[in-house]
């Protein structure tokens, strides 16, 4: 049960129930689609990028609590960040959720995203936690074909 509480932290449950930035960005100039065929998680990500900076970000779609909360928290974390900062954050996030379960998680610079540290204990859920981030990567690279976690 402690593992489960670690995974389904209050912040995650809250963002699942009331996801932030859960909307289409009307003046978006980048967008991408992410799909996890294993569980059917599906999301559209919209970005408004000015120069190097992410000015606005929103998403729509359906998915499990982990994928939805991850997209929500990611969108909150990235507003105003540069593309380079976003990529660095993804790397840190990815390292945390796939890290060694025996060692304490490296949460430096992750801010609120540390609530996903519990995902390390649930390898089957890593794809849920990273779907939004993979979709972000595709949007930033301007790829228009859907991203799949498989």
């Amino acid at each position: 049960m402690s593992d489960l509480r670690e995974l389904y932290q209050q912040v995650i449950l809250d963002h699942n129930k009331s996801p932030r930035n859960f909307r289409k960005v009307e003046d978006a100039n980048r967008s991408s689609e992410g799909y996890n065929p294993l569980c059917g998680d599906h999301l559209h990500l919209y970005l408004k990028v000015e120069g190097d900076v992410i000015r606005d970000i929103g998403f729509q779609g359906s998915g499990c609590a982990i994928s939805k909360a991850s997209a929500s928290l990611m969108s909150s974390a990235l507003k105003g960040k540069t593309k380079g900062e976003a990529e660095a954050l993804f790397k840190r996030f990815h390292d945390m959720v796939t890290g060694d379960v025996e060692a304490p998680p490296d949460t430096e610079g992750l801010g609120k995203l540390v609530v996903f540290a519990g995902v390390r204990e649930f390898p089957a859920r890593v794809k849920c936690a990273t779907l939004a981030w993979h979709t972000l990567n595709a949007a930033l690279k301007g790829e228009d074909k859907p991203v799949s976690t498989e």
Partner: protein, 422 residues
């Protein structure tokens, strides 16, 4: 010990004839293990069933005492291996009540069996503008091979719809049948809904239009006695691993007249009579469809699984499973917010459900930590998910070794889910 006593003391029966699930459980070593320090509650039998000691022993015996290639060696071991492998074919014949052993083709599983028919029979008979009828509740393995054939041939897929309970609408099926119908392929028991389809009637209706029928029996054979002559289907496919046997082995039954008229599926060793660079002549059925060294221990393991299932007694097991399904259905209906998907009048022990806004994947994770193994997802039946307007479901599927305690553990787990998600 008298013969009468021995027959009463079969694995699944108590001396008074009732089904003894506890006794059956003892035959499955994995059911004794714990996960996350809790007893394993295995409710993912529609994905794959656990293996009884008799199957594990048969595979081990083959490798430690009989390992050799089949059908070609003159030496002792090869004869032993051939005998064991072909003995398994004879057991499958008996299990399905096929007319002869030659009607049993070994494949990698249900998927390969369907592909074999789509490629080998389909390419020989399906032309532009022809129609193939499937149902809305098919597994992807009974959709995609036909779709590939249709694309290649310019043929059209027609789909029998289901009602809200998850039963096929036979009057719609009747309307779909016509002189362009060249094949019908339907599932016997749905892997998502549990619905048992009236396959005998479906076959009869197709035969009026001279359309042959394949029945996908992957989810049916573990739960009921199947008689292919009674059903009168032209092809029947199933997988060994859902029938308590090994993975990688499956069966295609085909009426001998149809199989004999079909071209080979894959080319290679074992499937030929003679080869020159100018011309190859093919072996007789079933070898014509079994190119290459087969999955020998898989076949032997499947034979052992069939022996085991016969010993347990499928009729007694089916009656027991029916009672357990009724118990589980009632128990799940008592969980607030839970909606069962698949409430057909004729069902095997498959319980698909959703719970309010809680995503099936989250439910699956929480149940897993309670030691309860279920499946969460679209179950390789995306068109059916669309029909019921859900992205995914949780699926608990029963076997004859499951008990009411297993169902109770599932229900406790679902209450835990509600706690976590408040």
């Amino acid at each position: 010990m008298s013969a009468a006593y021995l027959s009463l003391a079969r694995s699944g029966e108590t001396p008074d004839g009732a089904f003894d699930a506890e006794k059956v459980r003892a035959d499955f070593p994995i059911l004794k293990r714990r996960v996350y320090d809790r007893p394993l509650v295995y409710l993912d039998n529609a994905a794959t069933a656990q293996k009884p000691q008799a199957v594990i022993d048969a595979v081990e015996r083959y490798y430690s005492a009989e390992n050799s290639n089949v059908h070609r060696g003159v030496h002792y071991l090869s004869q032993r291996a051939t005998c064991a492998y072909e003995g398994a074919r004879a057991r499958v014949r008996g299990f399905l009540n096929a007319a002869e052993d030659r009607e049993v083709v070994f494949t990698r599983g249900t998927t390969e069996a369907i592909n074999l028919v789509a490629q080998s029979y389909g390419r020989g008979h399906v032309r532009e503008g022809d129609e193939i009828i499937l149902s809305e509740m098919e597994h992807h393995s009974n959709i995609v091979p036909w779709q590939m054939l249709c694309e290649e041939r310019g043929a059209v897929l027609r789909v029998i719809p289901v009602n809200d309970r998850g039963e096929l609408l036979l009057e719609e099926y009747e309307r779909l049948l016509n002189k362009r119908t060249k094949f019908v392929s339907v599932v016997h028991a749905s892997n998502v809904l549990g619905t048992v389809n009236p396959v005998q009637q479906i076959v009869k209706m197709a035969h009026r239009w001279n359309a042959p029928v394949l029945v996908d029996g992957a989810q049916a054979v573990p739960h009921m006695r199947v008689d292919v002559q009674e059903i009168d289907c032209d092809f029947y496919a199933f997988s060994g691993h859902k029938l308590y046997g090994p993975t990688g082995i499956g069966v295609l039954y085909g009426k001998i007249g149809l199989l004999e008229a079909m071209s080979p599926y894959q080319g290679g060793g074992s499937m030929i009579r003679s080869v020159t660079f100018e011309k190859t002549t093919y072996a007789e059925v079933p070898n014509r469809f079994e190119a290459g060294t087969p999955h020998i221990e898989g076949g032997i393991g499947l034979g052992a699984a069939i022996d085991y299932v016969n010993e347990v007694g499928l009729d007694a097991a089916a009656a027991y499973e029916e009672g357990l399904l009724a118990y589980a259905t009632e128990a799940l209906r008592g969980v607030p917010g839970l909606r069962l998907i698949g409430t057909a009048r004729q069902k095997v022990g498959v319980l698909s459900f959703v719970m309010g806004d809680i995503h099936p994947h989250d439910i699956g994770t929480i149940l897993d930590r309670e030691g309860v193994a279920v499946r969460a997802g679209h179950h390789c039946a995306q068109p059916l998910m669309q029909r019921f307007g859900v992205p995914a479901t949780v699926r608990a599927s029963l076997a004859f070794y499951n008990t009411r305690e297993d169902v109770d553990a599932l229900v406790r787990g679902l209450h835990r889910v509600r706690e976590v998600f408040g």
